[in-house]
């Protein structure tokens, strides 16, 4: 069958129309993809802002916690030492030379202890400095105060390789540690706390367990009040990590926080 010239021309016209419609759809596709790109960029920006706000909040909470510890120590420790110093000084009888010498020696000892405590407090006040010494050291420093109370048996072990967390991750993880310890002190009625800080090639793991009264995890997560467990989970997720909370009444509790690190091409850890 032969095709007439008119039919060929009609076909050419039709093909040209199709060839005109095709770019139109292509352009529409590019524009729609571009819109999605904008949305993605906006979402990323929002996430970044949320992260920064959360970080600021975390830093403030670390400071607040430090001030609470300072206030507690001023009242319970240094305050007591100074009161004892005043009482001892006022009881010094200058006519009783051997007694006075003994009491003055006691006053001197009390004063020295007070100075030592004040120095320790001063170190604690530099919250950021504590974290900058490394997460492991910061946790150790924080536990020092807890050990003094003699209320808990504390076992702290850490892998010496935990040195590569960047300041942001270390601050947030440190704050999570503080809050978990606070929860244990306030609610767990525990006598033993175990802390384990570990770092494998690309994963930093902080595990805190206690032998306290335990709690119902699901209920606690639903409550969402205060800092609580909900925030521990949320902040771990913010660092692309996870928080695994396990507990049951009368069987203590365990919280495992895992924060990933991205390895660099030369095998070193990148923060």
């Amino acid at each position: 069958m032969q095709i007439s010239s008119k039919e060929v021309i009609f076909l050419i016209g039709l093909t040209s129309v199709i060839f005109l419609i095709a770019p139109l759809f292509l352009i529409l596709y590019v524009l729609s993809y571009n819109r999605r790109k904008r949305k993605h960029q906006e979402d990323t920006l929002t996430m970044q802002k949320t992260f920064e706000t959360e970080l600021l909040k975390t830093q403030m909470e670390v400071q607040e916690q430090t001030l609470k510890t300072v206030a507690y120590d001023l009242h319970d420790n240094i305050g007591q030492l100074l009161s004892l110093t005043t009482i001892t000084l006022s009881s010094v009888d200058l006519n009783d030379s051997p007694g006075a010498t003994e009491k003055l020696a006691l006053v001197e000892d009390l004063t020295m202890r007070s100075i030592k405590e004040v120095k320790a407090l001063s170190r604690l006040l530099h919250g950021e400095e504590i974290v900058s010494r490394g997460l492991a050291a910061a946790i150790d420093f924080e536990l020092e105060w807890l050990r003094r109370s003699d209320k808990f048996k504390i076992n702290y072990s850490y892998n010496k390789e935990v040195i590569d967390l960047d300041a942001i991750k270390a601050t947030i993880l440190f704050r999570l540690f503080q809050e978990i310890i606070n929860n244990i002190i306030q609610h767990a009625k525990a006598t033993e706390i175990n802390i384990d800080l570990n770092q494998n090639y690309d994963l930093c793991t902080l595990q805190i367990t206690d032998n306290g009264i335990g709690f119902n995890v699901d209920e606690a997560l639903i409550r969402k009040s205060g800092m609580g467990l909900h925030n521990i989970v949320k902040r771990s997720a913010m660092l692309q990590g996870s928080a695994n909370i396990t507990s049951s009444p009368a069987k203590g509790s365990s919280i495992i926080i895992k924060i990933p690190q991205q390895p660099t091409t030369n095998g070193k850890l990148k923060n």
């Binding site: 050419i12 016209g13 060839f19 770019p23 292509l26 590019v30 524009l31 571009n34 904008r38």
Partner: protein, 219 residues
């Protein structure tokens, strides 16, 4: 009156828009568009004059114009790719290939007739160049409002024209033979008019976007 057609009118309007909005543009490449559009208008008028008044075939004019068209359009595409570190060597390679094809066809035609095969190949290359531009834009992580992007609309115009004219280019010889008497009512004439209007409308909008961009960067 013979000089005024949809084709020439759209070209001239686009030239005027380019002149108004690109004259003070910072980029020399964009400013070169004014000269290119002026050359297009001159070519078109000369072509009509030769056909209508001198009663001679006008293909030599369009053959020469094809060299400028390929040279400038290719360079403009290169200019658009430059922010993405596109190597200039491919532009030179393309110029070399184009010249080879062009001269071969000219020799084959004994310098008599339009180099339609070269024009077809050039159209295909420009279609690919447009698609590559979209690919670069899609890959680019940085968001750019494409609705107001001068380069995007310039490429849109080029794609519409060169892709839309593919069928006409392929059957150029057939159509030329069939329509030699009644060109002004032919399908080729209608298609090229539509394509010209679309391309020059896109380009005019691109020049306005370019002007707007320049004004916004000043304020």
């Amino acid at each position: 009156m013979k000089f005024i057609s949809v084709n020439t009118a759209s070209e001239f309007i686009c030239f005027l828009v380019a002149f108004i909005f690109l004259l003070k543009d910072k980029s020399t490449t964009w400013k070169m568009l004014i000269a290119f559009l002026l050359l297009t208008c001159i070519t078109e008028v000369t072509g009509i004059y030769m056909r209508e008044f001198l009663q001679i075939r006008n293909y030599p004019v369009y053959n020469v114009y094809l060299l400028f068209e390929c040279g400038f359009t290719s360079y403009f595409f290169y200019h658009l790719y430059r922010p993405y570190n596109y190597p200039i060597k491919w532009l030179y390679v393309w110029y070399g290939i184009f010249m080879l094809i062009f001269l071969s066809e000219m020799l084959h035609n004994n310098f008599k007739g339009f180099t339609s095969a070269t024009a077809s190949i050039m159209s295909v290359i420009f279609v690919l160049a447009s698609l590559y531009f979209y690919y670069l834009k899609l890959r680019d992580e940085k968001f750019e409002p494409l609705l107001y992007s001068a380069s995007f609309w310039w490429v849109n115009g080029a794609l519409f024209f060169y892709f839309g004219s593919t069928a006409c280019n392929i059957f150029m010889d057939y159509l030329a033979e069939y329509e030699s008497i009644t060109y002004n009512n032919s399908i080729r004439y209608i298609i090229y008019n539509v394509l010209d209007v679309i391309m020059y409308a896109c380009w005019s909008y691109a020049f306005i976007c370019r002007y707007r961009q320049r004004k916004l960067s000043f304020s």
